[in-house]
Amino acid sequence: MEPDVSIETPSIIRIAVLPIGTIPPPLLRDYHSMLLRHHTIALSAISSFYTEHQKSPFTNQPWESGSLRFKFVLGGSPPSPWEDFQSNRKILAVIGLCHCPSSPDLVSVTESFNVACRSYSSALVRRCFAFCPGDSQLEDGDKKGENLILFPPSDKQTQEFHLQTMMQDIAASLLMEFEKWVLKAESAGTILKTPLDSQASLNSEEVIKAKKRRLGRAQKTIGDYSLLAGSPVDANAHYSTALELARLTGDYFWYAGALEGSVCALLVDRMGQRDVALEDEVRYRYTNVILHYRKSFIQEIAQRVSPLSFELEATLKLARFLCRRELAKEVVELLTNAADGAKSLIDAKLGYQRKAAFFCRQVAQLYLQQDNRLAAISAMQVLFMTTDAYRIQSRASVSKVSVNNETGTRQPDAGKMHHHSIVSLFESQWSSLQMVVLREILLSAVRAGDPLAAWSAAARLLRWHYPLITPSGQNGLASSLANSADRLPSGTRCADPALPFVRLFSFPLHSSQVDIVKRNPAREDWWTGSAPSGPFIYTPFSKGDANESSKQELIWVVGEPVQVLVELANPCCFDVDIPPNSAKVITLSGIPTAVGPVTIPGCTVHCFGVITEHVFRDVDNLLLGAAQGLVFSDPFRSCGSAKLRHVFVPNISVVPPLPLLVANVVGGDGAIILYEGEIREVCINFANAGTVPIEQAHVSLSGKNQDAVISIADEALQSALPLKPGAQVTLPVTLKAWHVGPVDSDNAVGGGRNAGETQEDQKTELALHCLFTMQVQIWPVSNNGDPQEKESVVPPGRRLVVPLQICVLQGLSFVKARLLSMEIPAHVGDNLRDEDIETESNTDRLVKINPFRGSWGLRFLELELSNPTDVVFEISVFVQLEKSAKEDDSSPVQDSPEYEYPKTRIDRDYSARVLIPLEHFKLPVLDGSFFTKDPPPGTPSSSRHPSFSEKNTKAEINGLIKNLISKIKVRWQSGRNSSGELDIKDAIQTALQTTVMDVLLPDPLTFGFRLVRNGSETKAQSPLSKGSVLSHEVTPMEVLVRNNTSEAIKLNLSVTCRDVAGQNCAEGADATVLWAGALSGISMEVAPLQEARHCFSLYFLVPGEYTMVAAAVIEDANNVLRARARTASPNEPIFCRGPPFHVRVTGGEM
């Protein structure tokens, strides 16, 4: 393919012009330009040199008007494989140029000329022109053969004339050689081949065909020679024959060649006369030529050889011929076709780009051998041309369009690799070559004094080939990076990143627990449904599968700081702000300034004095390549970082400013430490840190132990709305610490999100941490009041999560509770009526011990508490009394419903007991309703009391117990100025459960003794006489039996009197007490809720302390009584015993 072709090219004779020996270049140019003037030699001018007088094959030679035309090829050209096809491609003559003063030895000149001619076997004429010979040279010049022609020194005109003569001679010689060749070819025939012809042997049928073909080709070649000889008419005749034969044998390629020759002959014949008819003819024939070249395309060998270049040449020739303004469209079409064809021609060349790179590199090496700056610049520029082929090009040279395309398509198919990247990875296996070329670029850039190019080359070398570079080599590269950076102005940017490797690590969802909530404008409570259900912001259940999460969107707000975590790795052996061979995760933060979608393709790194852009995709591809084994090593893995993990990149969109509420707990954001049961008010400050006022806010609680919040002063928040930017509001929250149970302590600690951070409090495992969150949903004031606009664009609300971390310490710990009973015997006195005593005792203590009544069966609830903390606790017990429950109780305490006992102080690490008297909880009536648990079946009593079994009395009794328990409050005050209540309900309930009957239920019968004074019972008593009995005196006494049940009881009463030793002193032989009346076997019946009395008299012989005890056997006991007495069998007698009464007998004073 020769680009300077024209239709007339086939008629031009090629002559190689070779410098022989050494010629100064200016002289060579002179000689060459002298030759060029003789590119056309008229036939008429050569007739004097034409010595051949045999019959010329060129019968129609136009001796008058014709001419031979030459093309001088300075330096010659290698033989073309298509020489046989187009004879004008042959070098038909060689002209040597010699400068005699520079090459004094003419013998050696001749020799070297002959050597030079050897490679031009097709040359028919050889001449060596020796200029400016010396005298001696002139002398023996003639001996050196006819081919050496000496040009004696003379003036320019003479010399030119001489040269013209010589050219005419050459032209004549060539003409004669052509004639010889044609004669020989016509007679003997010739074998003409092209690279298109198959080298395989032919079978017999094809041999015949091949013969005809050969004839046709010979005719075509003869036509070529005729044309070269300047005889277009002869040429045309031969071409016609050739066309005929080629068409017959299907030799399309040669057909096209002959047709091309015939057009040339036509034009040469017309000699510059042009008309429309000629033009049409040329166009018609050349279209045919192109068609036939195309026809001759052989698919099988297209890889190796193709007639495509001839087709293109023909197209170019036609285009050049037609090239005129009127035909611009046609020419453009032709050239476009040619260009397309040329492209495919280039593609068909094997390894074109790589070969170019190979030679470029060799050129660069030659340049680098010269040690100067200009050569280094050239070397660098040549090497830059190779970078594409070796795939080490700078990112700067990768077209911006493709980069943008790749970033654009990144989102949908993250994780897939692009073809380009894959090819790069495969190419990276030529790493030895890549490294060599990069190193050469670095070297040349350093020599050329281009610090940016040097930096870029060193960066590429280090980044992509660090595993193959020794530590010292890495250090060397690091220092060349640093040196280059020193010469660069600060703030220089380079397209090629160096170290470290940067990859995305994660996107923190939202800073400061501020969540954005989509508002549902149709609902008043727009926040519902959007709140997370669990205690944590992340719940595994609310996320779907991976597909769903890939659609997740991240919303950033204009003006609010955002963060992106990236991981850096430095796999090299020197320090880059990151220690060698290590990786670390850092946070990048920024503030969005504009609304819209955001993508984060990479980050900017200032390293080694230059600012570079690190694109995450590149590293991702590298890591994928490492995973597939295409690349040497994964820089992150070699730095001890985790394996390649898929980092989910959310779609980030930036929204306009939203209200931003900042909350802080007054007194510090740490855990609030409370003792069990402690009640405290905590204040939370809310400040509007955004730029938009807050119109609505709603507070809700979530998480564990929400019930610890007793109250939230929501109205404080609501009244402060709308909250202007910068405004603050304080929200008091009342907390009550819950009870630390041994079981749920584990759960709660496990669930507490920040439990790990406050572990030091848990040394005793008594502390309970819990995190629960307070959520405040807010939304901004809409810009204008137009409700329609509000509906169309609803700005999202926001959720602020305020974690309230509460650490509950075990305060007082409950050890055990038990019921104690205490018996204080009563004195037998004049009166049993409590009213009297009541008037006397003004005490408001709960337990009032009436010395005359005693406190038989007094119960105490004893609570044992220990104080494991390091502060002092003071315990006070409050008991609430209800008047209604004590109708017949003798101590109505309407005006003081609570009794407070003296405070009990418990020092640290000590335990103490608190007593709670339970006496006053006796029920007034022993009712059957309490014993429905096991009513004896079939007993007549059940039929008598139809309501007996129907009552759901168990619940009632439980209610009673609860009622009782709720009256007891144990309050504490710690040395830390905190106070609270001890939750011991469960403990009391357990303690009471077993003895509830005894505590609550009155005995069926109660007994009382009193002295019966002579005369009125109500006479005033002196304190002296009160309760005292004289010995040796008949003392009338009475025993009072009270029936506490609702049924009449028949009983058999007996009274005993004992002395201090406990002996029965009213009976027996040595009785010290005489008696009158009945002391035993007294049968009586007591009406329900009534008293009965029995009188008797005692006569004490000896003064001292005596004890009176009344006892009764109940006859015909009903089920209620039996149940109360817990009798085993219905026949068992029920025995009731009263409390002992003391009688002090003083000696008679007489």
Partner: protein, 134 residues
């Protein structure tokens, strides 16, 4: 004399490259092999009846011959001989192909990765040694 043989994968990535010269010109031979391996694009379009690609690339000192398997893996031969018989080269490539097939039939070989088999290396040097003897 054969100075270098190479196996080039279908992405033009080197799978095996071995030089047989004493001189320290491995890198030069790498370059020669590199620029002889063609871009995959130009080949995928055309169908070849023959595995033997012929003379790929005559340089000043070397001749480079190529051979393309049906899995688009190329074998490249670099020789310093100036007069090479096609049949010799074809024979060489046939044997080399057989050795390659043996090597990649190893169940422990991962296709597309570099061939590290020592047996393959031994076989190849035997084939190279016997080249041109008959």
């Amino acid at each position: 004399m054969i100075v270098c043989v190479s196996v080039v994968g279908h992405q033009n990535n080197p799978l095996y490259i071995q030089s047989f010269t004493d001189a320290d010109d491995a890198l030069k031979l790498h370059h020669v092999v590199h620029c002889s391996s063609t871009s995959s694009k130009s080949e995928s379009g055309t169908t070849l009846n023959e595995a033997f690609l012929g003379l790929l690339y005559p340089t000043l000192n070397y001749k480079v011959y190529g051979y393309l398997t049906n899995t688009k893996v190329k074998f490249i031969l670099v020789t310093t001989d100036l007069d090479v018989r096609d049949t010799d080269v074809r024979n060489f490539f046939r044997k080399f192909h057989a050795a390659y097939v043996d090597a990649v039939s190893n169940p422990f070989h991962v296709p597309g990765k570099k061939i590290t088999s020592r047996t393959f290396a031994q076989t190849v040097s035997n084939i190279v040694g016997s080249y041109g003897l008959n």
